[in-house]
Amino acid sequence: MSIEVRSIRKTFGKYTALDNVSLTVEDGCLTALLGPSGSGKTTLLRVIAGLEQADAGSGPILFHQEDVAKTSVGERRVGFVFQHYALFRHMTVFDNVAFGLKVRPRKVRPSREEIREKVHAMLSLVQLEYLSGRYPAQLSGGQRQRVALARALVIEPRVLLLDEPFGALDAKVRRDLRRWLRRLHDEIHLTSIFVTHDQEEALEVADRVVIMDKGRIVQEGSPDEVYDNPKNPFVYEFLGNVNLFHSRVEKGMAHFHGLRVESPQHETAKGEGGRAYVRPQDFEISREPLGESSFQATVQHIYRLGATVRLELAREGEYLTIEVELTNDEFRARGISKGDKVYLRPRRVRVFTDQEMDDSYTSSQL
């Protein structure tokens, strides 16, 4: 089931939560709505679900080309997983999952036996059959989340919508559960949208990532597309750590720290100010100068993060910190220690001129 929304507006009093948002989600696709808090991602999900009504004058909400904007959440047949699960606290796991079937009108309600079978099938899909008699309060966060998922799926929804599904879990469970969700999605191929503010989660799990800011969609594409080609500084900064260098852009080249770096999209630039972004893992580091495209810096701190090592460096006479990330092996091979003077060469640089910064700022303001 494909989902399409066109020109959705939603305001809460004077606050504009969604500003003319249009989005298409292909059938069977797992899409992430990614953005900082207040970006409108949850509101968009709730409008799609029917838990929130878009403002008058908004465009249609199409499920498989059929406009559902006027129908209620129940009639849209969406499976919705709430951020804090919203399990029925007074019911067992079994009853929570069975409930969506039990409350159907008699004509379309499965028999008691069928309900039991369906619920058990669903509980085994989420690997919780052994807990069917427990109450939500007796489960861990990850287990509750899976009950919520089973409850949403048992009614055979046309689309699955998840609001910050892993938001309240600790890091390890979070990672396990999102991989499990990915595998589950590959099994059942249900068109799904999930909301997250965690770029790692979105990039790892989703087929497509939709990045939102200030009630608008800023960029959408596959995880690789958005990570490799961020459309504007906001997306660049949001999708992971960055180093920012003030630079001068002229004739397809950016100049900073005495470096000259190619920036092909600024062929016509005439000495404008700009910002050059380099991700921490996109530096080459060496004790010897690396040609004319490297600069010298002093190692100020070393943080070991398990598989990777993060260095904080600064150039002579500057207090601006430069972050560099290395694998453990690289780090050991270079034999770097605190206080060393080393040379850095950015492997990949993305440049935005001041003009582009202003544009992206105003476009997300409007």
Binding site: L51, V73, G74, F82, A86, R89, H90, G100, V103, Y135
Partner: protein
């Protein structure tokens, strides 16, 4: 002051009979207040002002005026002023029970409201997402979670109502306290009768409190 055991045994059956009136008024009145309060609460949550506003007005008005005044109005004013409808108010007992029920409905309505407000918004939405009807959402999802936490507060009002029943004396219902007063003034011996009244109230109140605590335990939501 001497305690007269002979008198005690003599008047006990009469007081017990009167006590039945007190208990009956409380049980019927409180049952009605439980239902009435819930109805008022649900009406007050209506999105239509034409429904929610009168319900709000009733609750505020009834809560802010004395029960005794309400009793007088029901018993002495209504039958005269609105004879068509006032017919039911000719029986002192029925009038008394209805007045108690209305008065306490406004209190229980506030209690229900607190309980319902404490049910997370997500529970309503989860029910809606499962395509559950409005009535089913109330009976299967909201009330089972809203009521257990408010049982102690409801229990307090049960006991409060029980202790308010002597006010029915004002509209000529012969309940426990009135009977005790009559016995006392007939013999000029008040101690025994009034003491028995106090003890009976004490026993029933304590029993109710115990019962409510038991109910709290039965209905408590499971935890670890």
């Amino acid at each position: 002051m001497e305690w007269d055991w002979a008198l005690t045994w003599e008047i006990l059956p009469e007081l017990a009979r009167a006590f039945r009136v007190t208990v009956a008024a409380t049980i019927i009145g409180f049952s009605m207040a439980l239902v009435g309060g819930l109805v008022l609460t649900i009406l007050r949550r209506s999105p239509f002002r034409i429904i929610s506003w009168p319900a709000n007005f009733i609750v505020e008005f009834v809560r802010s005026t004395p029960l005794l005044v309400q009793l007088y109005f029901f018993y002495f004013v209504f039958p005269v002023e609105i004879p068509d409808m006032g017919g039911i108010f000719t029986s002192a007992f029925i009038t008394g029970v209805l007045a108690l029920a209305l008065h306490y409905s406004s209190y229980t309505s506030e209690v229900y409201r607190a309980g319902i407000d404490a049910v997370p918004k997500g529970q309503w939405e989860a029910a809606a997402a499962l395509n559950m009807s409005g009535g089913r959402t109330w009976t299967s999802v909201i009330l089972p979670q809203a009521i257990p936490p408010i049982l102690p507060a409801l229990g307090n009002y049960l006991i409060a109502m029980f202790k308010d029943t002597p006010l029915l004396y004002a509209i000529t219902v012969v309940e426990l306290l009135t009977t005790a007063y009559q016995i006392g003034s007939a013999r000029f011996q008040y101690v025994e009768a009034f003491t028995i009244v106090g003890v009976l109230f004490l026993i029933v109140s304590l029993m109710s409190a115990w019962l409510i605590r038991r109910m709290e335990r039965w209905t408590a939501l499971p935890s670890h």
